[in-house]
């Protein structure tokens, strides 16, 4: 028994080692470094307690970045989740081989690199030559300078991100739909339940675990948005598309302000863990799990 216990630990060792060095130590390291002034004007780290945090909260740009990121999250998450659920229900209907065509065309954006997708949309949003303005013109929308206009740049990024991400959520919902036993619907039909009632009292509750999963994934990914901002706008114009991770990147790897970068990183981790905890606290307990 004792040797078995030792081998158990040894099997875990490799995974724990990499996890420790590249995930857990970094979390504590950035929390520690956040207490130091460490930038170009102060090349040797100098302990300054919480002054970095004060500086972060005092910077108006930080609040703008936070606002941008929340706008991004509060638009992309509900829109892509509703779209995903709606399309999952449609694709789940009985139909012939055309089903795989639909699945491929709705899901393929997930497969391509975000950088390539961003490039593609830069071309589509091109004010003069882009097809987006051209086809919007048919609807009577005047020419918009999408990525160069402070009012529209974030909207453009939101549109492309929804296009890129909803397909994955759709597949998760589809998996959830397929796990609902058919006899639930049959029983409901015998009881005389109509389409809406079936959806409301069978489909929705049975999809709760899938919905929770998608929701958590969507929260995590919407606060990690970076690639498309980097390629499409570099945070501009006028920082209207500057988001949390891009802001961290700027501080750490453009201005080489490692103390500030660590402070922002720490706030980022705390905020996100708190959000996930809240989701599980509020919604998680209502979800029925089959483990």
């Amino acid at each position: 028994m004792r040797t078995q216990r030792l081998t158990s630990y040894s099997y875990l060792l490799l995974g724990l080692f990499f996890m420790g060095v590249f995930t857990f130590i970094p979390v504590f390291l950035s929390a520690y470094l956040s207490l130091f002034r460490w930038n170009v004007s102060s090349p040797e780290p100098a302990f300054t307690w919480f002054s970095n945090y004060l500086e972060v909260f005092k910077a108006p740009l930080f609040w703008l970045v936070l606002r941008n990121n929340f706008i991004y999250a509060f638009t992309t998450i509900p829109v892509s989740m509703c779209l995903a659920l709606f399309l999952a229900i449609l694709v789940n209907q009985k139909m012939g081989t055309i089903k795989s065509f639909y699945r491929v065309s709705l899901f393929y954006p997930t497969m391509i690199p975000m950088v390539a997708a961003a490039m593609l949309w830069v071309w589509i949003f091109n004010p003069g030559l882009g097809i987006f303005n051209y086809y919007l013109g048919f609807l009577g929308v005047p020419r918009i300078e999408w990525l160069y206009d402070m009012r529209y740049a974030l909207i453009a990024i939101i549109i492309m991100s929804i296009w890129k991400n909803f397909g994955y959520y759709m597949l998760i919902f589809l998996a959830g739909l397929q796990s609902i036993p058919n006899h639930y619907y049959e029983a409901a039909a015998i009881e005389g339940a109509g389409g809406w009632k079936k959806f409301r009292y069978i489909t929705l509750p049975m999809l709760a675990p899938a919905t929770l999963f998608v929701f958590v994934v969507a929260i995590i990914s919407s606060f990690q948005v970076f690639d498309q901002v980097f390629i499409m706008t570099q945070g501009g114009p006028g920082d209207r598309t500057n988001v949390l991770v891009f802001y961290i990147y700027q501080h750490a790897f453009r201005f080489w302000d490692l103390g500030m970068g660590s402070t922002l990183t720490t706030l980022f981790i705390l905020g996100l863990l708190f959000a996930i905890w809240l989701v599980f606290r509020v919604i998680g307990r209502k979800v029925y799990y089959e483990v």
Binding site: R5, T7, S8, Y11, L12, L14, G15, F18, M19, V21, F22, T23, F24, I25, P26, V27, L29, S30, S100, R103, V104, F107, T110, M111, I112, P113, V115, A116, M119, L120, W121, V122, I124, L129, I131, W163, Y168, L171, I172, L174, A175, G176, Q178, A210, F213, V216, V217, I220, Q224, F226, F230, Y249, A252, F253, L258, G261, S262, T265, L272, I276
Partner: protein
């Protein structure tokens, strides 16, 4: 009457799906189309969807402008390197969590779960400092290291291992096939669908990695496709759309081809990814 209603319902269904599919597919067709045009063909007042005459010169020219073949090789090395180590770490850990009892098991499992929740982007700054200390910046191994352990993969595989009946292990032990041999000969073959699903997800997500390789690389010799594309864009600064779209199409091509060929496996894998979560 019934037929009529059914027919209308069906038409509505297909109309809706067709419309959305068209909107999602159009952007990709549009880059393919642009990448096959002559430079002057881009400047048309109405979008020209079918490129004619076809020009494949862009795809040859992009290789002269930047070492995309090198980027491709680097990407393959990094992606397979990450996956190979991940498979070892997650299989061993998942086995232990699914089958063994030892002191601290819950705690360690909790650590693996927490890793899923910690945003990977939040570890990049300290990881950059660590790699700098070990003089590993600007290497291919640097691009792989932070991803070697996967709490997510461990969790997924543990669920698969747990569904395999215990009696099988008892029988195997009696036959002298315990421990690692049991893992190798019984558990792994039985958990193959999960292993394939995890592999596909890992390949796709690391093929698409951007921020981390951007931070740790600064010469073309080690850069991956995504970084190469980003650099190419800056180098060309949006002047030549046909060339840029050729490069974009080239970067997406490997995953797209894989996806179209193994469509069913890909879809199944991504569906499985959320089931057990």
């Amino acid at each position: 009457m019934k037929f009529n209603r059914n027919f209308r319902h069906r038409t509505g269904l297909h109309l809706a799906l067709m419309l959305v599919s068209l909107i999602t597919v159009a952007p990709y067709l549009w880059i393919l189309s642009t990448s096959l045009k002559f430079r002057t063909e881009v400047f048309t007042p109405t979008p020209k969807w079918i490129p004619w005459p076809i020009n494949i010169q862009n795809y040859l020219e992009m290789f002269e402008m930047a070492p995309f073949h090198l980027y491709l090789i680097n990407t393959i090395i990094v992606v397979t390197g990450i996956l190979a180590v991940q498979l070892v770490t997650i299989t061993l850990a998942a086995y232990v969590f699914a089958r063994r009892n030892f002191w601290g098991k819950e705690f360690f499992f909790f650590l693996f779960l927490i890793q899923m929740m910690i945003p990977i982007h939040a570890t990049f700054l300290p990881n950059f400092l660590t790699l700098k200390n070990f003089n590993l910046l600007n290497t291919r191994i640097a691009m792989m290291l932070p991803f070697f352990a996967s709490g997510y993969g461990t969790f997924l595989l543990r669920q698969a291992f747990r569904q395999i009946p215990r009696s099988l292990e008892d029988a195997a032990v009696i036959d002298g096939c315990g421990g690692l041999r049991f893992l190798w000969h019984v558990l792994i073959p039985l958990a193959k669908p999960t292993l394939i699903a995890f592999s596909i997800i890992s390949i796709v997500s690391h093929w698409n990695d951007y921020l981390w390789p951007l931070i740790v690389t600064d010469t073309p010799e080690v850069r991956t496709l995504t970084i190469g594309l980003g650099m190419f864009v800056q180098q060309e600064s949006g002047a030549d759309w046909t060339l840029l779209m050729a490069a974009t199409a080239f970067v997406t091509a490997p995953m797209m081809i894989f996806f179209l060929v193994f469509q069913k496996k890909f879809v199944e894998s991504f569906m499985l990814s959320g089931m057990k979560g």
